[in-house]
Subunit: 84 residues, 2 copies
Amino acid sequence: MLESFYRQGIRTPRTEMIEKIASRLKVYGHIEGKNVFYWFQNHKARQRQKQKEHNMANISNYLHKAHQPVFAAPRRNVVHEEQV
Amino acid sequence: MLESFYRQGIRTPRTEMIEKIASRLKVYGHIEGKNVFYWFQNHKARQRQKQKEHNMANISNYLHKAHQPVFAAPRRNVVHEEQV
DNA sequence: CTTGTATGAATGAACG
DNA sequence: CGTTCATTCATACAAG
């Protein structure tokens, strides 16, 4: 249920929403508002973390295997070539 | 130690007090004034949050379960309506 | 049993 | 000040 809310775009629900969700979850056990709050906090953070690691992996992969320079700006009038 | 200060009523200490506390805490590690400052700021904020959730829980409880024929809710300091 | 991992909780730091 | 973010701690559980 929490994940469905998350998928619907809810990231950092307001206290009101939190309490509403918590009250619906209470049928399954002792759920408090702060539990819901922590869930969203953690889920968002870990989603970001995952995304970050994913990007890092891609970049790393790219730097090691790839062929084209990453930030290759069109060169013009290069007079003296330097080693980088 | 910080909590004892807090319990004694210190909420937003002045720079002078902050530095005094920080200097006493330095024996335990690299404590700076801003660390003490953040501590009081966070502690106060989270104390309020807790209180807020407590109130919300009561309200929620009231709205959902306690359908006693009460006509007036003689509550004061109900932090229920916020921005819309 | 130990090792790895998922997750709730907590807290320092910082933003708007 | 209220809220959000990043990081860490602690624990439960799974894999080996």
